[in-house]
Amino acid sequence: MHLDPFELHRPATVEETVALARELAGRFDYLAGGTDLLANYKMHLNAKPHLIALDRLAPLRERRLDRIGAMVRLAELERDGAIRSAYPALAEAVDQVATPLVRASATVGGNLLVDTRCFFFNQSYFWRASLGFCLKADGDRCHVVPQKERCYATFSGDLAPALLVLDAEVEIVGPDGRRRIPLASLYDEGGDGIRRHRLAPGEFLAAVTLPEAARRRSSTYAKLRVRPSFDFPELGVAVACRWAGDRLEHLAVATGGLETYPRRWDDVTAPFVGRRASSELFREVGAAIRPRVRPVHNTFLPPDYRKQMTELFVRRALERLAPTSGAAG
């Protein structure tokens, strides 16, 4: 397999990067770890004539407790004891991404923006041509939910749900300067598998920031997949909470691997804040989230099962974080 020729730009400063982005508008992709992008390029999936590599931007590689550069490799995060103990959900999510070989190259930013996946998209040019292509690449219709408007490809990052429940924000840099938004706002719930984030043209992720409050929460991430390595999530559930005694003071639940974007379920979980820890409570939270998730049949495991497991995974995560387990914060 080969890559079609492209030009590779390796700017050394943020300013240079932004200038390049402006110049190459619409004709480039940013290159982070490359483990997803280059595999897609080899399959001729939406390849561009220019790549702007972010690997020389030193600020993007910085790693602090409250700010993790977008170009920090997952393998570095995996070995960072301070970050691990501060954000268990993040550590658990990182540990479960793909394989050690992928994590050696893959980055935080890359995982947050990893392209959505679908049986009908992540295929070779030949395969897709034999089917007449699809909405997300080279075609005009969807084969998962037959219609021509919306792409149902599935968001398949592991870090996003974990960072969502930790109230992470992302620093974004682009031709119009620098901005910081809640991670939740990065994902476009009005979009689809193609219009999957709210970055403006030319913008890139510079860092993830985490509030001090996140370190006072207990949190966890659980992933459903067929094999304990390699596989993308069929479901990812992150939960963060804080208990005052046995009273729930704060609760955040986020899911990934189900729909075209990761989601945080504040409107569902809000009514449960203030309740006392109990198995009923845990069950109720899970049961409240289940009907809201809408997986489609474009991954290995059937959507109905993934939906059922969402309820269970939420319940189990809460059980794990229950105050009696000593994880109270």
Partner: protein, 159 residues
């Protein structure tokens, strides 16, 4: 080749300079240009681990690595692990414990194992299993691979 540039990097302890276009993949360069064929092409998409090399000591998928991005870095392939006259302890253990059958995945496993033992000379079984969980073997069922890495560890196989 449009955009081809001269790229310098360390390869198995020796500096090399190659001319490569931006889209040149490290695995292709190693196998086709430099004729170092120990790194294997099993899937070309990062899902088998047969192409594993060490970049600055860390196991890396050479099939998803651009040559331009290893500029100035140190690449170690399976050809650079043994001294000319003696196998590396991990290699010896793989032979003695039957950890290689068809051998096609073996270079990748050995590099993953060598990197593990350098970082953690006395890994637990679970740590070994985790360290090789990006390398696919279709012959051995991994049993003897894990045993070989354990044996290399006991023999002081950080190398």
């Amino acid at each position: 080749m449009p955009g081809a540039r001269r790229i310098r990097f360390g390869l198995n302890g020796h500096p090399v300079e190659v001319t490569a276009p931006p889209e040149r993949i490290l695995l292709d360069l190693l196998r086709d240009d430099l004729r170092l064929t120990g790194s294997k092409r099993g899937c070309d998409l990062g899902t088998c681990g047969c192409c594993t090399v060490l970049v600055d000591g860390r196991p890396t998928l050479s099939c998803l690595t651009l040559v331009h991005l290893v500029e100035g870095r140190e690449v170690m392939t399976i050809e650079g692990i043994a001294s000319p006259h003696e196998l590396h302890p991990v290699q010896r253990a793989f032979v003695e414990h039957g950890a290689t059958q068809c051998g096609f995945c073996t270079p990748g496993f050995i590099l993953s194992a060598v990197a593990l033992l350098r970082e953690n000379p006395q890994p637990t079984r679970a740590q070994i299993v985790r360290a090789i969980s990006g390398n696919l073997c279709r012959c051995t069922g991994y049993t003897k691979i894990v045993e070989a890495i354990e044996a290399a560890s006991r023999a002081g196989g950080a190398g």
